[in-house]
């Protein structure tokens, strides 16, 4: 049994944490066990009671549910609702959970039966339109990113444990990119969604000379119209911009506005809610 937690002489409860996955690549979960240098300190802050990727115990008695993945099957909806009932705090971990993530790209095709046939042939498999967690249950906190930065997860968990406010940056990635004094990718001739994407990743991609793909979703004042003009001025096509905007699902409402109408038939959307 680990020693009791305390901060400045005040005893703290170690929250019981369950980690769950839905439709995802498990990359966000992997981040939880990443960063060996701080892993023991991280694990010391919480009591893990359910984490398929890292342990065999399975308990339904947890305070915090860290939920990875999007919802793409009816049985996932039922399991998510159960987690919601058990958890005091339900955290959407990563882009799939927050926005649908890369998985929601399939929604672009409109005819989902055709998609299923293309991928699985005649193999019988349950699959429906990909939706974020918040379409089915109340989500208390979102940790953005594909994957989120481990440092950010550590900060969120520390703040939850000591009872400090958890706040995500509201400004866009450019702010961090400029603080790192990168040369702007537009100057180098590459597109970037940094001006409209929520910061917090420390401009991960631009730091490595890759344009942002918007995995963290929109910043709180995302001027998509102006970005469209900027892309055009720099010679990038509208589709090239839409490709990026659609990649992680965070900009779905902006994309719908840009395309002039929702791409998929109405009934596909409503029939999947229950």
């Amino acid at each position: 049994m680990a020693a009791p937690l305390s901060y400045l002489g005040v005893g703290l409860d170690r929250p019981r944490v369950g980690v769950f996955e839905f439709t995802s690549c498990e990359g966000c979960q992997l981040q939880l066990v990443n960063n060996e240098a701080t892993l023991l300190d991280f694990l010391n802050l919480i009591e893990l009671v359910n984490f398929r990727e890292a342990m065999s115990e399975r308990s339904d008695d947890y305070d915090i549910a860290l939920v990875e993945g999007s919802i793409s099957r009816a049985d996932e909806v039922a399991r998510l609702k159960e987690i919601r009932t058990n958890a005091r705090l339900l955290v959407a971990l990563g882009s799939c959970a927050c926005f649908g993530g890369v998985n929601q790209l399939k929604n672009r095709f409109g005819d989902l039966d055709w998609v299923k046939k293309k991928v699985y042939g005649d193999f019988p498999i349950a699959s429906q339109e990909v939706r974020p967690l918040a379409d089915f249950v109340a989500v208390d906190l979102m940790i953005y990113g594909c994957p989120p930065k481990k440092e950010e997860i550590e900060k969120v968990v520390t703040n939850l444990v000591v009872g400090k406010k958890v706040a995500m940056p509201k400004y866009p990635v450019c702010m961090e990119c400029k603080a790192n004094e990168n040369i702007c990718l537009f100057t180098l001739g590459e597109p970037c969604l940094g001006p409209i994407t929520r910061a917090g990743c420390d401009a991960w991609c631009p730091n490595h000379r890759r344009g942002c793909w918007g995995c963290r979703g929109p910043a709180e004042a995302a001027n998509v119209r102006e970005l469209e003009a900027i892309m055009a001025r720099h010679g990038f096509s509208r589709e090239a911009m839409l490709d990026r905007l659609e990649c992680f699902g965070g900009f779905s409402s902006q994309v719908a506005a840009l395309r002039g109408q929702p791409r998929r038939p109405r009934k596909a959307r409503s029939s999947k809610r229950s």
């Binding site: 400045l8 866009p172 603080a179 004094e181 004042a221 001027n223």
Partner: protein, 346 residues
């Protein structure tokens, strides 16, 4: 002011004499998409990396005296007791090799806020007091409008200022330290010919300015044009990204973040530079945002630079370096904004 001239061959020797300190100067940082060289300030280890012919830099030299993130203090916690550690982050004097007049004037402006009563900032002041500044004459770029802002020459705030006369430098010596360093290289007092050449070079340089800003009665104009439609027009374009403040040599706004270490045995207070264009710049405890509209935030950036600061210090908080306009992806530049406010308001 004491003047001297010295051969260009002496400059590497001066560099070597100063090299035991941290030397910061302009370097080339690759090429843009059209193959044009890009420059920025960085720590210089070899004289040949120094690019004194630089037109301008993408970012100002700010991170060397106002870092984007800086630890204000850390705490070591033990039981219910704690110990505070403060570090002004000054380890070695920093030599700034080749600052243009605008950037020297930017430091002079920052001094008025950050090194003066009532609240001198020890982190900034400690770094400022440990600087040795070598200024260098510039070639005005199309976006430069320092002449309109009265910051195209530096009268103080440097140790040594060099003007390129072709095969030799004309040096203005402003500090005893600079004088002593010049004793260690070969210099000579300037002749009448040097004076003439200096005046020629400076006149030639002054004829190259292409951009001007009409600052006549600007503070009053801004007061009158508080409701101008121009603000909304620029606000519609603005990305609320903070790039303008980040590249600006005089923007000093900041936030403070308090963090607890993962092992709960330490904590830290960290200062990070912020920008008045960011959506929550004027958000207060309880969640009320005094400036939720982008256009309002953009307007207040201009009000601070060109009105509020002028009323407080009788000078603008903009040195006309043009960096913000160059870096702004939405193409929002100070000359354009101020001209449109003047024109639309008429």
């Amino acid at each position: 002011m004491i003047f001297a001239t010295f051969s260009k061959k002496e400059l590497p020797r001066l560099f070597d004499l100063l090299a035991p300190n941290t030397v910061v100067g302009p370097v080339q940082k690759g090429l843009d998409r059209a193959g044009r060289p890009l420059y920025d300030f960085d720590v210089i280890y070899r004289f040949q990396d120094l690019r004194l012919d630089y037109p301008t830099t993408i970012h100002s030299a700010k991170r060397h005296f106002l870092p984007h993130r800086e630890s204000l203090c850390t705490f070591t916690l033990q039981g219910n007791d704690w110990e505070k550690q403060v570090d002004y982050n000054v380890y070695k004097p920093v030599v700034f090799f080749g600052l243009h007049a605008c950037d020297i004037n930017a430091l002079n402006k920052l001094d008025k806020v950050l090194s003066s009563p009532p609240y001198p900032n020890p982190y900034y002041t400690a770094k400022r007091r440990n600087m040795f500044i070598i200024g260098q004459g510039c070639q005005p770029q199309p976006q430069c409008f320092c002449r309109s802002m009265g910051t195209d020459t530096a009268l103080h705030g440097f140790d040594l200022f060099l003007t390129d006369l072709g095969d030799r430098y004309f040096a203005e010596i402003l500090s005893a330290t600079a004088y002593q360093f010049l004793q260690k290289i070969i210099t000579r007092p300037p002749t009448a010919k040097d004076h003439d050449r200096y005046k020629e070079v400076v006149t030639e340089r002054n004829q190259q300015f292409q951009t001007t800003v009409d600052t006549t009665d600007l503070t009053k104009l801004l007061d009158l044009e508080f409701e101008s439609a121009a603000w909304q027009q620029w606000g519609d374009k603005c990305l609320s990204c903070g790039t303008c403040a980040n590249v600006c040599p005089t923007c000093y706004c900041y936030g403070v973040e308090e963090t607890v270490d993962l092992d709960l045995r330490g904590a830290a207070k960290t200062k990070y530079l912020y920008s008045c264009n960011l959506i929550d710049f004027a958000e207060v405890a309880g969640g009320h945002n005094f400036r939720p509209q982008t256009a309002t935030r953009l307007k207040y950036r201009y009000y601070h630079k060109h009105r509020g600061f002028v009323e407080a210090y009788e000078e603008s908080l903009c040195v006309g370096c043009g960096r913000c306009g160059e870096a702004c992806l939405a193409g929002i530049t100070v000359p354009d904004v101020l001209a449109s406010v003047r024109a639309l308001g008429g």
